[in-house]
Amino acid sequence: MLRFLLLFSRQGKLRLQKWFTPLSDREKKKVIRDMMMLVLPRLPRTCNFLHWKDLKIVYKRYASLYFCAGLEDQDNELLALEVLHRYVELLDKYFGNVCELDIIFNFEKAYFILDEFLMGGEILETSRFAVGVSMEEADTLQETMEEYMSKPAY
């Protein structure tokens, strides 16, 4: 199970934070700081895994963004790496060649997409097709609903 997922830029700006276990604000800040301190200075082509306290850290850099996940001891690192990749694919699919700015300006969408395929730190839906569908559905639903609601009531 994932404990947290962080997206931050090379300059150390946090772009998205998702916590799957309850932590106090102070603890969250500490985790964020530690993750940036651990991950940002690492050289390219080093391995994507680290140990931190009793967690496994899996991270990967996509363009200017670092995707960084904290895993429990028994979790599978390689698959977590693919969880990150899958998330990037979904963002890509939704925004069309996603960039950091998309995530800044549409942060709420980035959270929604994440919720579509992760829940409580576990993978919810692994089929790329199904997740895409439910995002599409949500978008159409919103339109039809809004159309429906804005119809004058007689």
């Binding site: 199970m1 934070q17 799957f20 276990t21 309850p22 932590l23 603890e27 500490k30 050289l43 080093t46 391995c47 994507n48 895994f49 680290l50 140990h51 306290k53 009793d54 967690l55 028994q74 599978n76 690192e77 390689l78 698959l79 790496l81 693919e82 990749h85 899958r86 939704y94 925004f95 960039c99 700015l101 998309d102 800044i104 300006f105 549409n106 942060f107 709420e108 969408k109 959270y111 929604f112 919720d115 829940m119 409580g120 730190g121 576990e122 993978i123 919810l124 839906e125 692994t126 089929s127 097709f129 199904a130 439910s134 559905e137 949500a138 639903l141 919103q142 609903m145 809004e146 609601m149």
Partner: protein
């Protein structure tokens, strides 16, 4: 600004974000935010009712501001209003805001729960999913209480849509993690297991996660899942990729589901049924075979997914630890990966091999890779990979290769990264001790450690080398010679000075025959380091000097001159000054015999688990996210501290042993006798002394009684329901005590609960001497009274009567118990009957220091469980009280409130009298 046209752009929000990004300074940003907050506040307060769109936009802006790291103290109500909107996007934003910002004790929780309840009942799958997501995201206890009975129903109901089933399964999993006691087991469990047969692979994946978590809690209830999981797995690994369509990920069939099924199987032992077992073995072999096949894609995603399944299969093989054939194949596969060009794979191979090394079937196979691993240590560019290599070397070490491995680790240490040096030092120290055939090698290794990485050699390491040298006659001479030689180096680490001072102080006589290391040479060598050392080391050296006076009368004059010098006698540090004064005085007035007794060689330490190992365990595991570093100080640092402050009347020579933190060292006298020289006169004997009694609740050794004539010291040790107490009677006068007798008496009730058998003591105690009495104690059942030690003797013609309440308390028969937080809560709940729980709220009598409290609780006898209580300031402990008739499990929780200077202590045990007594004992300690 990116041109996203998907969904609904909120122009105002985009403009605001853009403004913030354009701010040149933090101040400008804060200013812009405050302006926006004022704007939103006025909009929310305004008379005009806001339409849904504006409400959504403003709530979203607030969320953005919060995520930037600013506090938000309004807008919650508006967000809650959005939940009941019929527009999907409004509802979605409302839920997002609640998930990120909700405060579980908020007044709004009732309103939120209502909205969730409505959505759950709406039969609209999209709304239901939003509601389930919100429950999972917040995951608070209140929410669990409100919905934990609905969710299983939704999960197994026939008409529920697949996507909702998936969410319901994971939502339940999430609640089970935070509030396992609330999740009811029931007839739905059987139906959940059958979800493993579901047509929809997404449902199966989610259900497998849920079942894995629940099976850890109650394996019996989910035993049937094994058959289904094996069947499912077998279908996946043998399937052609087409069956699984969109669940095929880069040409790998359902990697997520495969890994989860393999995880689920790791909750159980190998299947007993032969057919099932061979089917599973077949699956595992197929997975191993597939790795050898040429890759279907060059993409890294393909190989990652494929190898993820492989590593999980290997984890299962290791877990079963029953098929030598598979274990060896796994090991060979990992061996290939050790040289793979992908750093990730090398890292994981090293990590998995650590586990294989502990299996008897594969240990030898792992050992064949030793050269590759050593090479990794030398050549890997990435420190995290090198660290795994160190771990693996440590795991594969045994008697046959220990010298090679220790040598390699030592040589790596010279260049190792600072971040991992301390751990390597601990590992080397443990291996050297564990596999030492001759202890000269051990001593050499540790001294090398100090030479190479002195700063990273923690106290435990040098304490341990001293314990071992003291306990083994055969190595003492060698140790003395070696440290003497090592100290010759022009610059040597302070830790070496400590070890050297201690060892020469004890065993310098063994090498004094050689004129090159004559007493005076030894002393001068040690003293040449003195001025470069810190206070604790100097204190230790002073103790070594006084030991020298005893060992080598010929240097007495030289040492006395040193002690007498102003830099010692008037040292600004009170501890150094006191030692100098006391040692000087001792050397002047005590006869050779007394000196010899006081400064006798240290007795052997009792065998016990290496404190280094304990430290390594602590470094590795335990502790959740918050500061681990703080924990490290506790045991050795603060217990000493607590004892030292309490025992101000005992003397400084004491800290020679105290420093080693060995509570159960048989006493050799000095601590009791040096007080001969103090002029402190305590009041005359009272009828029954119990003033020191409470001090012994959390510790076993110390002075229980003292007046002008007599000092009584105690050392005690307990194991299960048995205890042994050494009572030391020190005659503080210069005249004999005659007709000395001491006996233990108990009340009638206590006699049925506790037996204390006292050995007889010598009826005469010479002036200045000390005798020892042994008490054997057995706990028959729980008790609350304490036995009394009655002492009688003649001193100068008058009969003296002294009665002392003996500190034998119920908690002495504690055995600490480690348990997971899940077990803890389960048991906590089982002990929920009103009389089993005793709670006390009381004012702190001492300063509220968390480390001291921790040390006290450990001294009390329970195991402290980290990470169980959501509030890290609270303490949670568990232990078992052993008596002859029963064992009583005990859970405790101590909640400090530093603001109010109060504590709340809660104890739950299966026996009310035990809860009561333990609470009384412990609550007086804080």
């Amino acid at each position: 600004m990116p041109a996203v046209s998907k969904g609904d752009g909120m122009r105002g929000l985009a403009v605001f974000i853009s403004d913030i990004r354009n701010c040149k300074s933090k101040e400008a940003e804060v200013k812009r935010i405050n302006k926006e907050l004022a704007n939103i506040r006025s909009k929310f307060k305004g008379d005009k009712a806001l339409d849904g769109y504006s409400k959504k936009k403003y709530v979203c802006k607030l969320l953005f501001i919060f995520l930037l790291g600013h506090d938000i103290d309004f807008g919650h109500m508006e967000a809650v209003n959005l939940l009941s909107s019929n527009k999907y996007t409004e509802k979605q934003i409302g839920y997002l805001f609640i998930s990120v910002l909700v405060n579980s004790n908020s007044d709004l929780i009732r309103l939120i729960n209502n909205a969730i309840r409505n959505d759950l009942a709406s039969r609209n799958p999209t709304f239901m999913n939003l509601a389930l997501h919100c429950i999972a995201n917040v995951g608070s206890r209140e929410m669990a209480e409100a919905f934990v009975s609905d969710i299983p129903r939704i999960l197994v109901a026939g008409e529920t849509m697949d996507s909702v089933k998936q969410s319901a399964a994971l939502c339940l999993l999430r609640l089970n993690r935070t509030s396992p006691d609330l999740v009811p087991m029931g007839e739905w469990t059987a139906r959940v297991v059958h979800l493993l047969n579901d047509q929809h692979l997404g449902v199966v994946t989610a259900a497998t996660s849920l079942i894995t978590t629940l099976a850890q809690k109650s394996p019996e209830d989910f035993k049937t899942s094994v058959v289904l999981a094996v069947a499912r797995l077998s279908r996946i690994v043998t399937s052609a990729a087409i069956d699984l369509q969109d669940y095929t990920y880069y040409f790998v069939a359902a990697p997520w589901l495969s890994v989860k099924l393999l995880r689920l199987l790791q909750c159980y032992p190998p299947p007993e049924d032969a057919a099932l077992r061979s089917r599973l073995t077949e699956c595992l072999e197929t997975i191993l075979n597939k790795v050898q096949e040429p890759p279907k894609s060059k993409k890294v995603q393909h190989s990652n997914a494929k190898n993820a399944v492989l590593f999980e299969a290997i984890a299962l093989i290791i877990h079963h630890d029953s098929e030598p054939n598979l274990l060896v194949r796994a090991c060979n596969q990992l061996g290939q990966f050790l040289q793979h060009r992908e750093t990730n794979l090398r890292y994981l191979a090293l990590e998995s091999m650590c586990l294989l090394a502990s299996s008897e079937f594969s240990h030898e196979a792992v050992k064949t890779h030793i050269e590759t691993v050593i090479n990794a240590l030398k050549t890997e560019r990435d420190v995290s990979v090198r660290q795994r290599a160190v771990d693996l070397l440590y795991a594969m070490c045994d008697r046959s290769n220990s010298k090679q491995i220790v040598a390699e680790m030592l040589s790596y240490l010279e260049t190792a990264d600072y971040s991992i040096r301390e751990e390597i030092v601990l590992k080397v120290a443990i291996l050297a001790e564990k596999y030492a055939v001759d202890y000269t090698w051990y001593v050499d290794t540790i001294l090398n450690l100090i030479r190479i990485a002195g700063d990273y050699v923690s106290e435990e390491v040098w304490y341990r080398v001293i314990q071992i040298v003291i306990n083994r006659d055969d190595v003492q001479g060698y140790a003395a010679k070696t440290v003497f030689e090592a100290l010759q180096a022009p610059a040597c680490h302070e830790n070496l000075v400590k070890v050297g001072g201690y060892i020469l102080g004890e065993f310098g006589n063994l090498i004094a025959g050689d004129p090159r290391s004559s007493p005076l040479v030894q002393f001068n060598l040690l003293h040449s380091k003195f001025h470069l050392c810190s206070v604790p080391t100097r204190a230790l050296l002073l103790s070594a000097y006084i030991k020298f006076i005893n060992l080598f009368p010929e240097v007495k004059g030289t040492i006395q001159d040193v002690l007498r010098s102003d830099s010692q006698l008037r040292n600004a540090d009170v501890e150094l000054q006191q030692r100098a004064v006391e040692y000087l005085r001792l050397s002047c007035i005590a006869s050779t015999d007394i000196l010899a007794t006081v400064l006798e060689e240290m007795p052997p330490f009792p065998e016990r688990e290496s404190s280094i190992l304990a430290k390594l365990k602590k470094k590795k595991g335990s502790s959740k996210l918050p500061d681990l570093d703080d924990v490290r100080r506790s045991v050795n640092g603060s217990t000493d501290h607590a004892e030292n402050t309490e025992a101000t009347e005992t003397v400084s020579a004491h800290s020679f042993t105290d420093k080693l933190n060995l509570n159960s060292t048989p006493s050799s006298g000095p601590s009791l006798l040096v007080d001969v020289f103090s002029d402190v006169s305590s009041p005359a004997a009272t009828d029954m002394s119990e003033e020191h009694f409470p001090r012994f609740v959390c510790k076993n050794n110390g002075v229980i009684y003292e007046n002008q004539l007599l000092q009584i010291g105690l050392k005690s040790e307990y194991r299960q329901n048995l205890g042994r107490m050494y009572v030391f009677y020190g005659n503080k006068t210069s005249t004999q005590f005659l007709s000395f007798s001491s006996a233990v008496t108990s009340s009638d009730i206590l006699k049925t609960q506790l037996t204390v058998h006292a050995k007889t003591v010598d009826p005469m105690i010479e002036g200045g001497a000390q005798v020892q009495q042994i008490l054997n104690i057995e706990c028959l059942s729980d008790f609350s009274d304490a036995p009394v030690l009655s002492i009688q003797f003649r001193y100068g013609g008058t009969l003296q009567n002294i009665a002392v309440k003996l500190p034998v308390m119920l908690n002495k028969f504690f055995q600490p118990t480690e348990m997971t937080s899940q077990d803890f809560f389960q048991r906590w709940k089982q002990l929920g009957a009103p009389r089993q729980e005793v709670q006390k709220i009381f004012k702190a009598q001492h300063q509220m220091d968390s480390d001291v409290a921790k040390a006290k609780l450990l001294g009390f006898g329970v195991a402290l469980l980290d990470g169980v209580d959501p509030n890290p300031a609270n303490f949670v402990g568990a232990g078992i009280v052993h008596s002859k008739t029963t064992q009583v499990g005990c859970l405790l929780r101590l909640e400090p409130n530093t603001q109010a200077q109060m504590y709340r202590l809660t104890l739950r045990t299966s026996k009310d009298s035990v809860s009561q007594r333990l609470c009384e004992l412990l609550s007086d300690q804080f």
